[in-house]
Amino acid sequence: MFFFTIRRIIASVFVLLASSFLVFALCAASFDPLARYYTLQPRPPESFFANLREELGLDDNFFVRYWNWLTGALTGDFGETVNGTPVAEQLGSRLLVTGRMILLAMVIAIVLAIIVGVIGAVRQYKASDYVLTFLVYLLIALPTFWFAALLKEFVAGGVNDLFGEQILYTIGEETPGLALYADGWELWSDRLGHLVLPTVSLALLAFAAWSRFQRSAMLDVLGSDYMRLARAKGLTYRRTVVRHGLRNALIPLTTVVALYVGTLFGGAIITEQVFVWHGMGEYLIQNGIGNNDINVVLGWLLVSAVFVVLFNLVADILYAVLDPRIRLS
């Protein structure tokens, strides 16, 4: 197990290095940091561009530029945005916002997926299975932003009318400026009120697909010989399903969840957009691509890739822990 882990970690580092190179090459080819000066009227003199190119090191060899960027990123320096603010700091605060949004949502989604998947498998082709299956298919067919808008429109309005005050917020991750003077319960309850709807939206949409995985994995397991053996030994049905069945049926879901959560750290892009959260997704779309800012896009891509690769690693290791055949082969 130890060597298996070490081998996987080394492989991951190489994937990251290759990924960072690919990302840098693509961005260097498609972003021009000077683009926004070309359209200025009157057009700045050539010497202005020459100075900027000199300052930003754009005339250097491609590999030199890559090396400079990479060594900077590894020491926590992602360069500056087009407005002259450090990217690293912003990435940090954005990550916290995104993390807050996805953490609770993922926990809820996993628990729901397991429960609904197991119910669907154990009660296959009974009424409850059909109802759950239909609901899940409906959720899978929903575009994220449409569902989120539905929540904003009805759930938020309904709940707030019911209590006669604003409990659920539909915009932002906290009331702007509140953090400047409030703290403790006041601040956290405000954040909680902002958190509910994005969490519900993310959790329900993620859980839907996962529950199908869980259901078919559970069906496979329920039909296996060792389940029959466990029953033959005299174990109760409940005990065979939970201890012998579920443990094995969790293996496929583990991988799927780990891979998905890894991609989410790059931002639940659409959910953030609908609820106007200033997280990683918005950072990429508005500050990065919107401002044509190469350092923001590069920083985002690298951080996002780190999480994807990290969670790939987690998926591999968890898989090996849950299924010993993998690490022995």
Partner: protein, 318 residues
């Protein structure tokens, strides 16, 4: 050659009767079916899949026959009929803020979205199939190189890849452009699926036999491996088609999809509708529901096809 396929009665025409004179008595007869016939039969008996297919055919009719019957051009802006609520004779589904008929828009949107899906499949399917087939069949360094490349691209979420590419090609804000971009980057998971299928299929005896008889790699891939991987290919195609419709809507919502004057798609209508959710709710509900129905029907078809190819997951017939 004697007819070999069916025997529905005790006496088989064309087969000489036995010397004893009496035909062979049979308790029951079994109609021989090819594997393909069995799969089609299983699908036709699958209620879920057939429901999906029926809905999908209805939507096809809605998108392609509807405009002919209705005879209204979505691009026509009627200044006198802006934001008409649904239910009036002229505007059954209402009209938008510049006086365009929503029903005509929905029909056109369905058309364009299905066009995008078609483009996506036509482009992504061959690429994914080729990459996966090469990696799975030849293994070794071909496999390593191709799959590491796929792994690398997948370190970036697909939606972001699409956004970055689309932002570099402002000309792609049409159904044509979105379909092409989706196709060019939507084959990565297919390549993985095909690869893993080929890895196991190439070890089969019939592949070895084909090899021994001197069949070329190309012949083995096209005549033996692809037909046996057909099930996963078709299932992938349906599920990916459903995802493509949602991806187009998402891209459009974020401003990197179908955009600009006289460009429609379901995603465009749904995205516009979200802005009008509280003021003109019909612009929010009808496009959203139309998209959900199409995606749902495609997913149901996919489910039916998967069961038809792999009946092991189904309830055993009592």
């Amino acid at each position: 050659m004697v007819a070999t396929e069916t025997s529905t009665g005790p006496a088989v025409p064309g087969v000489p009767s036995s010397p004893e004179g009496g035909g062979v008595e049979r308790e029951f007869t079994v109609k021989a079916r090819s594997q393909r016939q069995q799969i089609v039969r299983r699908f036709l008996h699958d209620k879920v899949g057939m429901t999906g297919l029926a809905i999908f055919v209805l939507m096809l009719g809605f998108g392609f026959l509807g405009p002919v019957i209705q005879g209204v051009d979505y691009a026509d802006q009627n200044v006198g009929a802006q934001s008409v609520p649904p239910g009036t004779a002229d505007y059954l589904f209402g009209s938008d803020e510049i006086g365009r008929d929503l029903l005509a828009g929905l029909m056109q949107g369905v058309q364009r979205s299905l066009f995008i899906v078609l483009l996506f499949v036509v482009i992504a399917l061959p690429i994914g199939l080729l990459v996966g087939a090469l990696a799975g069949y030849f293994g070794r360094w071909v496999d390593s190189v191709l799959m590491r490349l796929v792994d690398l691209i997948l370190t970036v979420p697909l939606l972001v890849v699409l956004i970055v590419v689309a932002s570099n090609f402002p000309g792609s804000r049409t159904p044509l452009g979105v379909g092409i971009i989706l196709g060019l980057f939507g084959w990565l998971d297919l390549a993985r699926i095909v690869r893993s299928q080929f890895l196991s299929l190439r070890e089969k005896e019939y592949v070895e036999a084909a090899h021994a008889m001197g069949a070329s790699s190309r012949r083995i891939i096209f005549k033996h491996l692809i037909p046996n991987a057909l099930g996963s290919l078709i299932v992938w195609t349906t599920l990916a088609a459903a995802v493509a419709i949602i991806l187009e809507a998402s891209l459009t919502y974020l401003g990197f999809g179908v955009n600009g004057a006289n460009q429609t798609s379901l995603g465009r209508l749904v995205s516009d509708g979200v802005q009008a959710a509280s003021t003109r709710p019909w612009l929010f509900y009808f496009p959203g529901l139309t998209l959900i129905i199409i995606v749902l029907s495609i997913n149901l078809i996919g489910d039916g096809i998967r069961d038809a190819f792999d009946p092991s997951n189904r309830r055993v017939r009592a």
